[in-house]
């Protein structure tokens, strides 16, 4: 039993990373109804920028955090300005394909910079394990878990209680209506991409804390997208719950099913979960159910 709980805790800690990645995707979707495949790149570049200042230049933790956020936000803004702004008014599917094109281009830049090597962040969080009832929890993962939960709370509050959040919700509902009530829709798009990029940077730093920065890192965006879709694309709560759940399923599944099927459950669990959820509840577990005939 204790073994099961250990696997579960480890899984939930990893799951908080998925939830963080998914949060950025949900944010962009909530305000613009664009599903971003490129988000994994923002996550990876957030981690890379942080490494540049912490590991490359040797700046202290807090000083390297700020430029990493600024640079990632700039990248997000650049994506929105150069690639997605020209597509306003076109079908949403074109924007989806555009984020896919951005993913490929940025993947090239990422690979070009890494040159096949890996980068490892120096330990910037307290290391060691916390022992609770015989379970051991790595302290640095516990911190990133708490950061994830706090970030979700903060973003939800922004959406619910600030004027900016109200504008974003209005924009998601209907661009033209929002514009006629005095909301500058173009600015809302810029703000949401900046916010989403900062969330991505947090996710990237938290991810690089537990794994190396290497050429496959951007593909965590696909895991994030799976979490966002399973949670219902417009639900932050759904992203959090499903993210933690996915980490749990992957880890516990790998622990108990790997001996039965010969390994690799971790690689495929997310996709099986996605297929099942899409077939049973196409609009996600927590998403707004829209009635649409197919």
């Amino acid at each position: 039993m204790i073994e099961f709980f250990q696997h579960a805790i480890t899984g939930i800690m990893i799951g908080s990373l998925y939830a963080l990645v998914a949060a950025g995707i949900v944010l962009v979707y909530k305000a613009t109804h664009v599903v971003s495949l490129a988000h994994g790149q923002l996550v990876a570049f957030g981690a890379l920028f942080f490494w540049l200042f912490l590991g490359g230049l040797g700046l202290p933790f807090w000083l390297s955090l700020i430029p990493a956020f600024v640079l990632t936000a700039l990248l997000g803004l650049l994506i929105e300005r150069l690639a997605l702004r020209p597509l306003i008014g076109q079908p949403l599917f074109a924007a989806f394909l555009m984020t896919f094109a951005i993913f490929i281009a940025l993947e090239g830049v990422f690979v070009l910079y890494l040159k096949g090597q890996t980068r490892t962040l120096p330990a910037f969080l307290p290391t060691g394990n916390l022992a609770v009832y015989g379970l051991s929890i790595p302290i640095n993962q516990l911190i990133s878990f708490c950061v994830a939960v706090l970030l979700f709370a903060a973003v939800s509050l922004i959406f619910k209680y600030t004027k900016l959040g109200l504008g974003m919700r209005a924009t998601a509902e209907d661009h033209r209506l929002a514009q006629s009530t005095g909301i500058i829709v173009k600015n809302i798009f810029s703000y949401i991409w900046i916010l989403s990029a900062i969330v991505a940077a947090v996710a990237g730093i938290a991810t690089a804390n537990v794994m190396d920065i290497y050429y496959m890192l951007p593909y965590i965006g696909i895991s994030g997208l799976i979490v966002a879709i399973c949670g219902g694309l417009d639900s932050l709560l759904g992203a959090l719950v499903v993210g933690l759940l996915l980490g749990f399923v992957e880890n516990v599944g790998a622990a108990y099913l790997d001996p039965l099927v010969g390994g690799g459950v971790k690689d495929v669990a997310a996709y099986v979960v996605l297929l099942i959820v899409l077939l049973i509840r196409p609009y996600g577990l927590f998403g707004l159910v829209k009635i649409e005939r197919i």
């Binding site: 150069l82 951005i102 490929i104 090239g108 070009l112 899409l278």
Partner: protein, 348 residues
């Protein structure tokens, strides 16, 4: 593509694919050029043409399901893998000849494609795209974890042979690949203007209206997936017998993304667009390949082998430019050229 003043005088002329005697001349000389190509083309060009033709077959299938039926699929490379593995298993383990394994691998991929296309009955657009990404990974995982597929080691299918003649070099198998490509192109061109093709277009443009008009959505969506995966399976089988080694590392999600990119650049919903898109991306890739050593020498910070990364950047940028400036792809430009040629020398 007809000059000014040529009109269809009968129904037969109106529906003909090849309309004038000039077309026949161009077609026949193009075919002769194609089939004599290995006699004067270099080895490099012949193997380039081989991989080009196989990609054309895969993207033709994708064009039918995505361009005509409107169901975006990122799983095309997984179905190609199924075709390659089926063909390899049939020839190695069961001793089938290549000529029987080729259509069987297409049918096998098609049947799996029906299962893979089943989510399209409930979801569409971006959700379906994600579901097909999931299917890609599930299929590759299943292949890796089965006994019969040789797991990580892969399989080594023999080159095809006919009556003692071995198609064991790139120049020899060239004829098989080109013949299959020509047949598949002809079939696709005819399919999309038949009843089935019109049903696909109806589903793409407005599925509800299509259903009201009597198009059976479930049947035609699954049929589109079957045909598309049949193409992928045939291409996979050819690929396996061309390079005589099949393993899961050849079939990556990046390839599937590349096929969708080719479709966007070539133009959705156009058979010539497939050729434009494949040629554009492949030539772009080759240019990057050739120029990257020069670039690496001139700009040392790029590293010693930037070809793969630069290829991705060029591909991504080309896609972005096309999505912003010409979302209908090169095929649209071709249509514009054709209609202005039809009017020449008059303005309109």
């Amino acid at each position: 593509m007809r000059p000014c003043g040529v009109f269809d005088k009968s129904y037969g002329l109106d529906i003909a694919i090849i309309r004038t005697w000039q077309h026949w001349v161009i077609l026949i000389s193009a075919l002769i050029l194609l089939y004599t190509f290995p006699l004067f083309g270099s080895y490099y060009l012949v193997s380039f043409m081989n991989s080009l033709a196989i990609t054309v077959i895969v993207v033709l299938g994708l064009q039918i399901v995505s361009g005509y039926c409107g169901q975006i699929s990122f799983g095309q490379d997984a179905f190609m893998a199924i075709g390659a593995y089926t063909s390899a298993i049939l020839t190695i383990k069961f001793g089938f000849s290549f000529w029987i394994a080729l259509p069987l691998s297409g049918i096998m991929a098609g049947i799996v494609g029906i299962i893979g296309g089943a989510p399209s009955l409930r979801i569409k657009g971006m959700y379906l795209a994600m579901a097909t990404i999931a299917i890609h990974f599930v299929v590759i995982w299943l292949i890796l974890h089965m006994e019969i597929t040789g797991s990580f080691k892969g399989l080594y299918p023999p080159p095809p042979s006919l009556g003692g003649f071995e198609f064991d070099t790139d120049e020899r198998i060239f004829y098989i690949i080109m013949t299959v490509m020509v047949i598949m192109t002809y079939a696709a061109r005819n399919l999309v203007r038949s009843k089935v093709g019109r049903a696909f277009v109806a589903i793409r443009d407005n599925d509800l209206a299509g259903e009201v008009m009597g198009v059976n959505l479930y049947y035609y969506k699954l049929l589109a997936f079957f045909i598309s995966c049949f193409y992928a399976g045939i291409a996979g089988s050819l690929w396996g017998h061309l390079i005589t080694v099949v393993n899961t590392e050849q079939f990556t999600l990046m390839h599937a993304l590349e096929y969708v990119g080719m479709l966007i650049i070539g133009g959705m919903g156009s058979i010539p667009g497939v050729f434009f898109g494949v040629l554009f991306i492949r030539i772009l890739n080759e240019l990057v390949m050739f120029s990257s050593p020069v670039l690496a020498k001139a700009l040392p910070w790029l590293g010693s082998s930037p070809a793969a990364a630069l290829g991705l950047i060029a591909f991504g940028l080309a896609l972005i430019i096309f999505l912003v400036f010409e979302p209908r792809g090169l095929a649209h430009r071709w249509e514009i050229f054709k209609s202005s040629y039809r009017l020449y020398p008059f303005a309109h």
